[in-house]
Symmetry: C2
Subunit: 108 residues, 2 copies
DNA sequence: GCCAGTAAGTAGTAATGCTACGTATCCGGA
DNA sequence: TCCGGATACGTAGCATTACTACTTACTGGC
């Protein structure tokens, strides 16, 4: 999926939180996870790193520095607030998607 | 649906084009159409009117003034370009929705 | 030595929906 | 008769946020 236009607006945070749901990941790994899988969101690093920092500032994730092969990584983990947010976002997404689909493909 | 945050970003144009698909409508009617129906997008007029003008400037719709009951209305109609755009947006939405859902509700 | 891959970031920009107004007409109720 | 609500259109300014383009740094293969 091309990161075409700003269709992602408001949904990026949800995607990031979801990628952190099954345990901590560092930014690059989150990016790879979104790039692979059925989704194929090819997001530039200039999108993903600031977004993770934003989530951290909002208290939804916590980041910790780690060293591996002389390479520093910042590993992010969901906080309790992040998990609650993700649950809410998930429900909101379902509503939103259903609403848009209702307008785009109206039931006869 | 509350117009909460900017979840709508990048999708508003698509919704507007879709509401104009079954014949011309004026701004207020488009707003009512989105407010009713299964969707319930409650959009402020400060969102809808500028957006319609933007679509007009982009050549996706054409607007014409009309008079009814001493009330002036600007009726918008899809152009050929608008119809093409709507078709593309519709496909893009399906892809996008499927991609987000794949991340949020991963198949086991 | 150089390039690709891994890893993290920043500065600045552009797009765009929202808030808060302002204008005007028509109609029903107090 | 006056007022509020519905109808109808709009603008100015703001805030959010993803993207572009760039920088830094280490490792391994050609």
């Amino acid at each position: 999926m091309r990161a075409d236009a700003q269709v992602l607006k408001g949904h990026l945070d949800t995607l990031l939180l979801a990628s952190l749901e099954n345990g901590p990941r560092h930014g690059y790994a989150v990016r790879e996870a979104l790039r692979a899988g059925g989704a194929r969101f090819d997001l530039p690093t200039g999108t993903i790193y600031p977004a993770l920092r934003r989530l951290e500032a909002a208290g939804l994730v916590t980041g910790t520095w780690a060293e591996a092969d002389g390479r520093r990584r910042r590993s992010y983990e969901l906080t309790a607030a992040g998990q609650r947010r993700l649950a809410g976002d998930r429900a909101a997404w379902r509503d939103f998607a259903a609403a848009v689909t209702a307008i785009l493909d109206p039931a006869p």
